[in-house]
Symmetry: C2
C-alpha cells in the first residue's frame, strides 16, 4: 500500500494536504456512516467522497473503527481501550473489578461523556443511527469483550459479552445521565466492588 507523504500531491492529483484532507475525510466519514451504517460504509467510498486516495485514509486512521471513533470525536478507540485496560490489570483484582474501574476512569476523562450521550441520543431518535451504533459496538466493544470471555469460558461468548454491555451501559446512563443519587455519588472503588463480581459472573459464571 502506498502512503502519500503528508502535504504532497499524490500522482492521481487528489488532495493530500494533511489538515484539509483530514477534515474532508472526517466529514465524508460522518455522511457515509450516517447514510450506510457502520457495516455498509467503506474506506474506499469515504475516500472517494473526500476526493483523496484510500491509502491516505489508511495512513491517517489505520482501521475503520479508528476512523469511526475520530469521526464521532471519541477520544479513544474502544477496542484498544478495552484491550489496554485488561492488559494493565493488577494480579490482585478480578477482571470484572478491573473492567469497572477502568471504564469509570475512561468515562470520567475529558470529552467521552459528551460523545456517548450524543451517540445514544441519536440511537434513540433514529433507527439508522441505532443500527450504526449497534454494529460499531458489536465490532469495537463486544468482540474484544468476547475474546476475554473466550480466554476464561468459551461457552456462549457473544451472549456473555452483551450481558456485560447491558450492565456497563446502564451504569453509564444511571451515573452520568439520569444520575441516580447513590450510584452517581459512589466512588469508583465502591462501584468496582459492587459491580465487578457481576461482570465476573457474566464473563465466566454459570449463566443458564
Amino acid at each position: 500500500m502506498t502512503r502519500p507523504a503528508g502535504g504532497a500531491r499524490s500522482r492521481t492529483g487528489r488532495r493530500s494536504g494533511d489538515s484539509g484532507s483530514k477534515a474532508a475525510i472526517l466529514q465524508a466519514a460522518r455522511v457515509q456512516f450516517a447514510e450506510y451504517g457502520y457495516q455498509g460504509a467503506t474506506i474506499r467510498a469515504i475516500a472517494a467522497a473526500a476526493d483523496v486516495d484510500p491509502a491516505l485514509v489508511h495512513h491517517f486512521y489505520g482501521t475503520k473503527e479508528r476512523l469511526f471513533a475520530a469521526a464521532m470525536e471519541l477520544p479513544v478507540t474502544p477496542s484498544e481501550a478495552i484491550t489496554a485496560a485488561l492488559a494493565r490489570r493488577e494480579p490482585g483484582s478480578s477482571p470484572g473489578t478491573h473492567m469497572v474501574r477502568s471504564a469509570l476512569a475512561l468515562w470520567e476523562s475529558a470529552g467521552v461523556l459528551g460523545s456517548l450521550q450524543a451517540m445514544l441520543r441519536s440511537a434513540l431518535t433514529s433507527e439508522q443511527a441505532a443500527a450504526t451504533l449497534r454494529d460499531f459496538m458489536a465490532e469495537a466493544i463486544l468482540r474484544p469483550l468476547a475474546s476475554v470471555a473466550e480466554g476464561t469460558n468459551p461457552d456462549r461468548t457473544s451472549y456473555r459479552a452483551s450481558l456485560i454491555a447491558t450492565q456497563m451501559l446502564g451504569l453509564a446512563v444511571g451515573r452520568y445521565v439520569l444520575r441516580f443519587g447513590p450510584v452517581a455519588e459512589a466512588s469508583p472503588d465502591e462501584l468496582a466492588a459492587a459491580i465487578g463480581p457481576v461482570i465476573d459472573r457474566y464473563l465466566t459464571g454459570d449463566i443458564s
Copy 2:
C-alpha cells in the same frame, strides 16, 4: 376530601365534565412537570392551570405518581407494577429472577417501550427532563425497590436500589433500543436465569 361526581358542575363553577376535564388536567400536568419537574409540580397548581378543583384531580388520579404516569402515557404505574410483580412471586424463584421476568413481560406489553424511549430521549436532550425523570424514578421505582431490599438486607437500601436500576435500565436499552444481538434474541427465561442472580446480589449480597 370531596369528590365531585363526574360530569357535575362543582359549586365553584369550575369545569368538571369527565373527558374534557381529564384532557385539560393531563395537558396541564405535562406543562407543569416539564416546567417545574416531578418534585416541583403540585396537584394544586396543575388543577389551577386546568381550571378544575384539586379534588377532581385526586378523584381521577389519586396520587402524583399516577397522574405523571397518565400524563406520560405510561400504561402502568411503576411502583404498583413493581409491588404487584413481587407479590405474585412463586415460592420457587428468587426475587431477582422474578423481577427480571416480570419486567420483561411488562416491557413487552403494548405501549410501554415507546413511552420509555421517549422519556429517555428527553432526558438525554434536556437537563430539566433528566431531573424530572430522575425524581420520578426515585419515587416510583427506587423507593419500592428499596423497600424490597429493606425486607431482606437493611444495609444501604437506596444504593442497592440504584444498582438494580442500572442493570434493568441497561437491559432495556440493550435489548430494545440498541438490540445487542444475543441479548435481543434471548428468551425471557434465559435472561431471568442470567440476570436474576445479579439482582439478588444487589438486593441482599455483600456489595462492599
